[in-house]
Symmetry: C2
Subunit: 121 residues, 2 copies
DNA sequence: ATACCTGGTATACTCTGTTATACTGGTTAC
DNA sequence: GTAACCAGTATAACAGAGTATACCAGGTAT
């Protein structure tokens, strides 16, 4: 009996907490490019042009900007190798992998959605 | 948990297909409000003002716009009851529930993130 | 020699998502 | 009578995400 009341009473509080968590996440991964870039790097793309080529539509400007901010936020590591010509490598941090479940859920949705509207695989 | 995501994310197969699926999904659920609104309605909020109250920061204009578009895209049903005063109910379609896994993954990430930066629960 | 590769930066612009504020027309409560 | 609730619409303005295009300096391939 008491358990029941507790559950009911805490329901709105949980809802508020969940919507806040959701809004936090949207704030962090918001925008058109953040998640595709994370996915690309986690998939093994390390070089600027490789990452760019792997994401249809992204411009150098946007990629550059996002990479810079992601490096600041410890989402990725940027390493410069002093060979000639100089090469730059971007690699994912552990933190970066924490977005894995979100990305997988979104890829899954996208595939099903496409299958649904095109009618084929 | 981490190992699992790492393994799956690192798997370099069908990269192009996956990035497209990801971009499709971002296009559909993009923006600041779509996912919170879906979440709110799936949580049982039916009335305009209830939905608005459940999402901190949203304005009537944005909510109105998003609801309209979501109705067009068959994400929600809008039902007007001719009692006096007229009441309007928004309910989720099956299609709407398909975003469940994405929303749950994002709520989960947001909770962990907050715990991490505040240091408490 | 010239055309394209690398890893970006610079400048200028557009677009639209988002905010702010006020308002409508009807209903119910004090 | 006046204040607050409902379900929104109207108007205007803004900020910044995103686009387009060109460019740099060095190296490589034909």
């Amino acid at each position: 009996m008491k358990k029941e009341a507790e559950k009911v009473l805490s329901f709105p509080r949980k809802q508020a907490e969940e919507i806040q968590a959701l809004q936090d996440t949207i704030y962090v991964v918001g925008g058109k490019w953040r998640l595709p870039i994370i996915n690309s790097i986690c998939n093994g793309n390390k070089r600027f042009r490789d990452i760019q080529r792997s994401i249809p539509g992204i411009t150098t400007r946007m990629l550059s900007r996002e990479l810079k901010e992601m490096e600041l936020n410890k989402l990725i590591n940027r390493t410069v190798y002093a060979d000639t010509p100089v090469t730059v490598e971007y690699t994912s941090t552990d933190y970066c992998y924490s977005f894995g479940p979100i990305i997988l859920a979104m890829i899954d949705w996208g595939k099903k959605h496409r299958k649904k509207i095109t009618g084929k695989d």
